[in-house]
């Protein structure tokens, strides 16, 4: 939700800047405050969790296949 809010603020700032011929504003506050690393960690945790799930399914299937072969 916070990410969305910052995104919206960043977008509106960008549109305003266009009128004054400035460069498009990118989101530096989130980054410089170090909070970006919180987002990264969360995303990484989610994805690593999913990867573990896929690996465990793979291992389970391998066990069943080995059992079926015998």
């Amino acid at each position: 939700m916070k990410k969305l809010l910052f995104l919206l603020i960043g977008l509106f700032c960008g549109i305003g800047a266009f009128a004054r011929q400035e460069a498009p504003i990118m989101d530096d506050t989130f980054r410089s405050s170090g909070k970006i690393y919180v987002v990264i960690t969360i995303i990484a945790i989610i994805f690593i969790g999913l990867a573990f799930y896929l690996f465990s399914m793979d291992r389970r299937l391998r066990k069943i296949e080995k059992f079926e072969k015998n």
Binding site: L11, A17, P24, D27, F47, L54, I64
Partner: protein
């Protein structure tokens, strides 16, 4: 098809996607009006389509294989590849709609690319419905293989050809510059191309897992 039981390419897929998730958010990107930071969606929205495309390509190859050799296992590959591809298709549509909301103004603006994507989605839904309508195994496999072989080029035309021939907001279509003009400085390419490979491999992995489950069910049924 011994490769589907190997582990190395699955680890590679996870590593590549993890890299793109982290680098996609941390590394600098070109500053563009209206897009601002959402340009980073490029690293996630487009690879969904690449994953769908790789998996659908495999399904067509195995459709042809089934028609040629008639092995029921090949038909199982086709259907599981399409199932996995559909999941990535939905993810691609949803991520695109969300991105469109904040850049084009609406979730669905009747844009030719969006409409074409919806039509091609229905095309593949029809494939699944077609399969369901037939109980007899060989007839189902044969008819659906032929349908799949036709559906694939139509999907390509709908997604990649038609939108370029008309007015479209989507980058790369309707006279808009593709994102190629944004990654001329190669900054984005370093994350985008690994993302393509990583997510495609993840897609193939999920398809192989589904296929392996199907094969076991199939073998148990025929016993």
């Amino acid at each position: 098809m011994a490769i589907i039981y190997k582990t190395w390419w699955k680890v590679l897929a996870v590593v590549l996607v993890l890299y793109t998730l982290i680098a996609g958010i941390l590394m600098p990107v070109p500053a563009k009006y209206l897009l601002n930071e959402t340009i980073r969606n490029l690293y996630f929205h487009v690879p969904m389509w690449m994953a769908m495309f790789s998996v659908f390509t495999i399904s067509v190859i195995y459709s042809l294989k089934y028609l040629r050799y008639g092995k029921p296992e090949d038909d199982l590959v086709v259907v599981e590849c399409v199932n996995t591809g559909m999941m990535f298709y939905v993810l691609g549509l949803l991520t695109g709609m969300l991105w469109a909301k904040y850049t084009w103004g609406e979730y669905w603006s009747g844009d030719p690319k969006q409409n074409s994507a919806a039509i091609a989605f229905l095309l593949y839904c029809a494939y699944l419905v077609l399969r369901n309508s037939m109980d007899e195994e060989q007839k189902r496999a044969k008819v659906s293989a032929i349908y799949n072989i036709f559906a694939f080029p139509i999907m390509i035309v709908l997604l990649f050809v038609l939108p370029r021939m008309t007015d479209s907001l989507h980058p790369g279509n309707g006279g808009n510059p593709g994102f190629n003009s944004y990654d001329l400085d190669k900054r984005m390419r370093f994350v985008l191309y690994p993302a393509f490979i990583g997510w495609s491999l993840i897609g193939v992995w999920i398809a192989t897992l589904r296929y392996r489950m199907r094969i076991i069910e199939y073998k148990n049924e025929s016993v």
